[in-house]
């Protein structure tokens, strides 16, 4: 029966309206809804920008170079992701795992560089009221007045890029589970401890690192409730999520960074 279904689909059932399996349609629907979340955040940022005089342009050449490298990391991760999907449909388990790990590495590189960018801006006074104060840097900070006179910038910038960074982090965890399954949980816990202990107490990443702990707990529950071998359809669906994260950055990078560059 299974063989006849594989080789003679037409005779067994009426084909799906969308020509693909339900898991993939489900991911597409999720991505559509998520695109509206990012659409709303991008509109909020753009609206704030055009309706506020004295909008800051805090991104020096160093920031632009940093953001360009981040973009290259994400674009390369998309390439390694399609190569992982390609390896999976060819039944190349080793290649699939290696390309997924390469994708995770690029994603982690993006997060680290983005974290560095945030830390530099926060150290220069561009912050949110909810972030702890950086000790000893208040007086000399370049953007200390920006946070007071144009608070919309910090709110929309950190809201938009923070939401994207969260998506990238969750994407890395997702790919880790698909690539390594249970073996990824202890790795994730080690990463959580390193991120938590290596960041100073005033850094938002000190608390943000707990996303990794929450991720480890959720993934443990999922893997315990439904242990399975992930096949090519799972890799493809994970790839859709990853490419979406890359896609969103293609709008954040020019609208937020390049349009607010301060090139001397």
């Amino acid at each position: 029966m299974a063989d006849s279904a594989v080789h003679d689909i037409q005779s067994v059932y009426e084909p799906s309206l969308f020509g693909t399996y339900s898991k993939k349609i489900g991911m597409w629907l999720f991505l559509l809804s998520d695109s509206l979340t990012f659409g709303a955040l991008l509109y909020a940022y753009s609206y704030g920008r055009i309706s506020t005089e004295g909008w800051p342009t805090p991104f020096h050449s160093e920031s632009i170079v940093n953001a360009t490298i981040m973009t290259a990391f994400l674009l390369t991760s998309s390439l390694t992701m399609v190569l992982a999907v390609r390896a999976s449909v060819h039944g190349d388990a080793k290649g699939q795992r290696l390309w997924l790990l390469a994708t995770m590495l690029c994603g982690t590189g993006f997060i680290v560089l983005h974290g560095r960018e945030w830390s530099n801006l926060i150290a220069e006074g561009l912050t949110l009221p909810m972030f702890p104060k950086v000790p000893g840097r208040e007086a000399a900070s370049e953007f200390v007045n920006v946070s007071k006179t144009v608070p919309q910038f910090g709110a929309t910038f950190f809201g938009l890029t923070g939401m994207h960074m969260l998506h990238v982090t969750l994407g890395v965890i997702y790919l880790g589970v698909v690539a390594l399954r249970r073996k990824f949980i202890p790795i994730l816990l080690v990463l959580w401890l390193v991120a938590w202990l290596a960041t100073p107490a005033y850094s938002p990443f000190h608390y943000g690192a707990h996303v990794l702990l929450i991720g480890a707990i959720v993934c443990s529950i999922i893997l315990w409730l439904k242990p399975k071998l992930y096949d090519s359809s799972d890799v493809e669906v994970a790839g859709l999520y990853w490419h979406f994260v890359d896609l969103v950055w293609m709008f954040i990078f020019p609208l937020v960074y390049l349009m607010s560059a301060k090139i001397l």
């Binding site: 299974a2 360009t68 390609r86 060819h90 709008f251």
Partner: protein
Amino acid sequence: MDTIQIAIAERVAEQHRHHGKALFFWVWGALLLMTAIEVYLTYQNMQPGKMLTILLGLSLVKAALIIGYFMHLKYEVSSMKWLTMCSVVACLILMTIFFFPDAFRILYLGVK
């Protein structure tokens, strides 16, 4: 997955097997090239309105390449393409309707 879902997934995987690696490398190269053009334009101190138009145009092309080739939508059936693209574009147009009256203020505010 049940038998039918496995059968569909197998058919989709079969479609993927026909795609060569070279195409993905070309798309990746094009995306990197367009990013380099965007960064180059940033260093040219262009007028903001013109800059925004070019950057958004390039972003839309990059988005189309990612959706079409990396997300494989180019190879999906028409109903899938129309469902996904029409729904998201319709929602973004609704957002733009609220945004539009103020959209051209950027030309007069002289945002640097």
